[in-house]
Amino acid sequence: MQKSKKVVVLGHFGVGKTSLIRRFVTNSFSDNYKVTIGVHITKKVVEISNENTISLILWDLEGTDKLDTIRNAYLLGTHGLVFVFDVTRPSTFEHLNNDLDIVRSKVPNTPLIIVGNKSDLVDLAELDVLFKKNSLSVDFVTSAKTGETVDDLFLKMATLLNEDA
């Protein structure tokens, strides 16, 4: 049977979690913001190499700035984590390192990818400065709107999980 891995996508509300998944799964985007409540689960089969595929079960969680309140049931059996923030809204990354500590303590020893989304709205050179200033180490800078590096991000996760298993 095909390997299937649970990947939880989390971060503050409005950062583009739902949009990233939508871009990845259906290659589409909408400017309209529909607040996610609870959890949406979608699945996509990713081809890592010839005849080596893995299916990602993507858990799109309701955004929150209080990560310690995320229900444990949602996180149970998680194989990979994607933490998304919005590069245009400091409130979504001001406490990033602290947020990540909470996530790591809730789900230890799990691959974690840090994503700054909405790159289409800012100057990339400015971003470098911003990340340095806030001492953020960011794995991917994406735009769900243009699709930039969205596939790369999920492919990276798939690769990590494939190695893991």
Partner: protein, 508 residues
Amino acid sequence: MLEKYKKEFLSQNVQFILLDEHGAVTESDDEIFKVSSGSLLPSLHPFFESIPSIDDLDENALDFFCVNLKFDNVDLIVDIKVKRKKECVLLSITDFTEHYNSYQSVAQSRNESIIKTELTVLKNLELEERERFKNQFIQNFSHELRNPLTSVMAISDILNDTNLSTEQVKMLDFLKVSAKNLHLLIEDTLSIGMIDAGKMNIQNKRFSLKDLFDLLSFTYGNKIKQKGISFNFIWDDKLPTEVVGDRLRLYQVLENLLNNALKYTAQGSISFEMNLNQKWANKASVRVKVSDTGTGIHENNLSAIFESFNRVETDEKIKGTGLGLTIVKNLLHLMGSEIKVESEKNKGSTFYFDKVFEYQIGGLKSNPLLEKPEAQKTKPKKNSKKYKVLLVEDDESVQLSLFKILLNTKQFHVDLAYDGNLVLQEVVNTNYDCILMDVNLPNIDGDQITRLIRDFPFKNVKNIPIIGITANAYPENIQEYIKAGMNEVLVKPFQKEAFLETLYKVLK
């Protein structure tokens, strides 16, 4: 009744499903959706793919709240309980779609408004930052303009004293007006910079508001009527005539507003009003209003008009710097008031503000209408003696123009020094009557040289009058130079008269 509802609720909203140890459906009551026995739930929805297998479950139920499920064409939002029973897994699924949907719309408006507020705050910060950067840049830039402008103004004055044809006199007048405008612009920039840097102090002195009103009504009344526009001015007799405040800054604000009205109005009328809002104890709130029937401002541009150098809807025929309204806004802000504007494109604009003044009940009339007339101008000394002047200045254009002015009077011998280090040597060797000292010099600054000179042991050197010349126009700069021992300080650009006046003043 209750039982009926309870039954209805239970039967319609909860579905029970049993799975065997391999995860295949053995039983389902199909209350919410259909599942055939023997089927695997993950094929129905990926949620079920990540629920733990029977070996990983214990007796305690696992609760998944608010799970969005989508089958075929139905969107459901449900709570799912997963519980291990002896040899099987029991799922209970409760449909809360309606409940969660109403929660969704609450969360929707809450999140949207939080994000909107956040972005507005950010945008404002960005605007402020941009404005600060722009002003700083312009400050620096206008500072650099002071030297060339000094020579333009000086040379124009010198030209004026030569034999010119009528045509040339006309052109020279143009030149002078342009130089003067440029000068005003630089001073306006300085005002903005001072307000920005918190260097502008607001005075609280008693003055006659009524006299100020009359003065402005008189001067602007004339200008406005000359343009063929009618002018109304209304003074509310209930207002106290004397108030406590900053007359000069208020004057600056009103002048800018009236100038603006005059500039952007081609026909119709302009009105200038001061009315009483209310009085209490020894305070009075005054509504000050300037309105016109001019070009008006489009609604979309209203917020931008107070930004510096932002002349919206620029009409090339109308001259202006775009600084006036920024100054108005900033000065009023300093005075604890706020400029407001109502405008309609092609109809006209009304600018107004409310200002609270303290006043003395039954206060005596004291201050005269105008500030004291300027001190009597110093006339050139009428004697045959030639003065020896040392000009210390590294900017060649300023050097040349001052040199010319001095020589033209035929009363001065002028020596030049470019470099601060040479000055001390020069003053010992020659008996100078005066030193004209630029402040920004290579190697050593003018104020430092002044200190060294003032510390000299020889009386004739120690007491030489020194006039500082500087492009640094902040009051604190000037104070510092005076403290260093300069007798007078001239701020670039200056006109020939002012320059000579100051010079004669310090000469014995």
